[in-house]
Symmetry: C2
Subunit: 595 residues, 2 copies
Amino acid sequence: MTYQPPVRDYAFLLRDVLELERYANLPAFADASMDTVDQILEEAGRFTAEVLAPLNSVGDKEGCHWHPDNSVTTPKGFKEAYRQLVDGGWPGLGSDPAYGGQGLPHVVNLAFSEMSSAANMAFSMYPGLTHGAYSAIKVGGSQAQKDLYLPKLASFQWGGTMNLTEPHCGTDLGLLRTKAVPQADGTYKISGQKIWISGGEQDLTENIVHLVLARIEGAPMGTRGISLFIVPKFIPDKDGNPGERNAVKCLGLEEKMGIHGNATCVIAHEEATGWLIGEENRGLSIMFVMMNEARLGVGMQGIAQAEAAYQAAAEFAKDRLQGRSLTGPKNPDGPADPIIVHPDVRRMLMDAKAIVEGGRAFLFWTALHGDLAEASPDEAVRQKGHDYMALMTPVLKGFLTDRGFNVCSDAMQVHGGSGFTEHFPVSQYLRDCRIALIYEGTNGIQALDLVGRKLAAEGGRGVMGFFAELDAFIEAQEADEGMKPFTEGLARGKAELQEATLWLMQNGLANPDNAGAASTDYMHLFGLVALAYMWALMAKTALAKIAGGATDPIYQEKLTVGRYYIARVLPETAGRLAKLKTGAEALMALPVESF
Amino acid sequence: MTYQPPVRDYAFLLRDVLELERYANLPAFADASMDTVDQILEEAGRFTAEVLAPLNSVGDKEGCHWHPDNSVTTPKGFKEAYRQLVDGGWPGLGSDPAYGGQGLPHVVNLAFSEMSSAANMAFSMYPGLTHGAYSAIKVGGSQAQKDLYLPKLASFQWGGTMNLTEPHCGTDLGLLRTKAVPQADGTYKISGQKIWISGGEQDLTENIVHLVLARIEGAPMGTRGISLFIVPKFIPDKDGNPGERNAVKCLGLEEKMGIHGNATCVIAHEEATGWLIGEENRGLSIMFVMMNEARLGVGMQGIAQAEAAYQAAAEFAKDRLQGRSLTGPKNPDGPADPIIVHPDVRRMLMDAKAIVEGGRAFLFWTALHGDLAEASPDEAVRQKGHDYMALMTPVLKGFLTDRGFNVCSDAMQVHGGSGFTEHFPVSQYLRDCRIALIYEGTNGIQALDLVGRKLAAEGGRGVMGFFAELDAFIEAQEADEGMKPFTEGLARGKAELQEATLWLMQNGLANPDNAGAASTDYMHLFGLVALAYMWALMAKTALAKIAGGATDPIYQEKLTVGRYYIARVLPETAGRLAKLKTGAEALMALPVESF
């Protein structure tokens, strides 16, 4: 069995839990009736399962090829699949109709992205980064730049990249050295070496649009002197078609632990011609727009790989006969029972379901807030949307990729020795997934962004709003016996999160290292409580459906998995709180030379 | 910098904490004065760092080669290194002098094994399994078998393997089908296919001794009908030299996520000639002797890879300049501070030290009990040694490999994007380490062994003895202010472990699924408390040394890392206890078809 897109779960979330149809009066949602969405996602499921998934292992085993003429070929089959992607009209799902997109809500596009990523993460990074480049130009570009580039990027006809990292600077972009020299014609000559450029060179698109961070000659040092440039591989001619070859080339590919099918390039800009996007020295702020979108997408990748790995593990656990149930044979006519009868195997599968389905709900719930931040006519709703997008993004990225990786590792464990061989898909899921903890800002950077910036933003309005929402929800369920296990767990977790938040406020200012020392535990505590809320929301929906006579087993399943989450995942919060409250002292006590 | 053997830490453990010289009156220890041991380990450190470590990445990149004549060649350089290993006299460290060994305590040999494994896990598995075969024949073989095989295995002149797994049976050996047909001359014809045979074919030794589990024709089904056979690749001639080629061959190699330098073979026995070891149908009990030794060795591998990965991460964190300390520049003349100034980077490095050094102490402490179980003249000491070896082995295997893998993953995280590339060693440590969670019984099987067998063994004598030891230790430190942070943490953890143990006794019998459902959380709870005890023992030693005027910084370092362990690692116990006490109900509630 290959990957099966979880379209039933998407329908549950979009239709039942988030009730997308409530927003039918809003622009992006008008064309997104649930029947249309169901149809689109069914179709997308077929495309990703039938076209992209079979190429996943091909890409892993073959990898990309660099040639001495600086060209790169992607694994066998990728080019044809990419053409099918473009021809099928998939690129434009979430893009602006003004540039050829379909303008659907981001939350719908997210489901498509998850399926693509689960089916073939390395492949789906090519269009993923292209969409990021689209967003950056849309936010920061001039009208002429938008007219020239957005239709090509929205249709995936051209590829897009982000050129940030240099050998000596990754997280700390203030150190970057790539320079931009202004020319008389208003363009710039860009020179410098960039590394880890995903899709920096490939044979899928007729042109590649590099978005490059560089320092204009004479600009201030540090992050306040960084500008953003468009450096196309082929300079568009008068008709907007690929023209003269630009002086940007791929010097080689990285050997990596995973995502072999994606070309990770060393890119040399050798007085390449570039066009400034937005204002001088304001490049980072535009790049951060792109990066925030990308961070939510990376959190999604963690869940996507976890879903695929879970599916492989569940199938294996139902097929593999080994040992007998501790409570008596469950397959008495067979030589042994399927290993899914063993509680410890069940534990790994239940953990996976609890994280994947809860994490997906958290992603979708946040993405919907992002849609409302743009589309709602109600300013309070827009503000809450912006607040939540800002607050939740680092949690989605850091918490969900940490947990997604654990799910992949557990899925390997369910496979036993088979999982360690490359005959089964789970090693690739584990290896591919691992990069998600690192790129677009390591998870440690996400945790620091959360405690150092997002908590305090607008005087703490985001997090206070979230606590108020949880309190209101818990109070509203008070009379509902069926909701008790959920609201009790949620209330306990919320109290711990609030205590941790208060601790941070009191101790982070006195010694900033206290905030740094607490950051990762706080991020996990936050994620655990957010998922408890998601499970409570899903439980409420499921209980209402069952009370209304719905017989689809998914509703009972959600209640069962949700109760498991509260009983066996959430209790981790106590240890997280205890650890983070010990502060920086024990953590920083060892002298550097003792490491 | 390549791997640096932690010989200073070995000396601290063996000399100061375990006080090996106390046992100088015992046979194995008589030749193991601490000066001798220091010298041996210094020398071993040089050998592993200079000969084995440089081949680690070679083995990973090149892998092993299978040839159509069923031969296998190991990666370039392995053969020469193996010769140096044999010529250097390293094989016999822990083997019986009667068979050419040096007869040192196992705890000393363990240090050598850790260094070999950290330097090159794939390589060191060849001699590792050879030593396992040595142990099985030593325990179960006839005198003639011992005389013929043990000198060759003790010297590593011949290789050894374990032939257990078949395509349809891994954990559940009762299903195995390989058959043995008795011959008139007292030998057996062995037929069947075995998979995942580490070192099943190689070019390092002139002969390979396969220890093969098979079912004698007519033997009962299940585990009570399994016998153990010696199947040599070349049948020894009258002089004990490799003679006629036996009908056992390698059909191919597995592609794996890691340990590429070790040949993982499909082995076909085609009426191969085999010799029974021990009694008919009693093969598993001998194999379990070998397996128990191997399980402690696998726990060691988890710590070894973690040590190597930690070293790489610490070096990277001290070199890589990126960002500024939250409390002001620490490297004001440089472009940025080394990333070790950041609390969240420090957290990962401190976690690593706390687990690696605490885990190593736990391994050594248990191994010493194993030595005393054999060598002590005092029956109570021997009994305690046996009890602890039995009780601790699954914890060492399961807990230390789970934690070792996390350390490797954190070490990758410290590296950021560099860690995901194969230019840095940490991807290999992570990939190689992953198998340790699976082989020699998955960690889930270890947890089940712990709760289902080891806790109840001898009426719970082992675990009750351990609790009594902890109580006595805590009480004895009562007046010692410096020990307070350690004994308070330990007492809290011990109370939780005891509560969990009681819960298991009360609930595991009523419903065995409760025991299964609790097993992994219980194993981690046990491991966390055992490491708290180790850190308390190390702290007591360090405080005494400092009080006695010792100025070596290691003593203060141990106190600092120990306090970190108690403050920031141990608090996980509360969540583990809460989770396991929820029992099997929530865990088993979802119908199989819903997965």
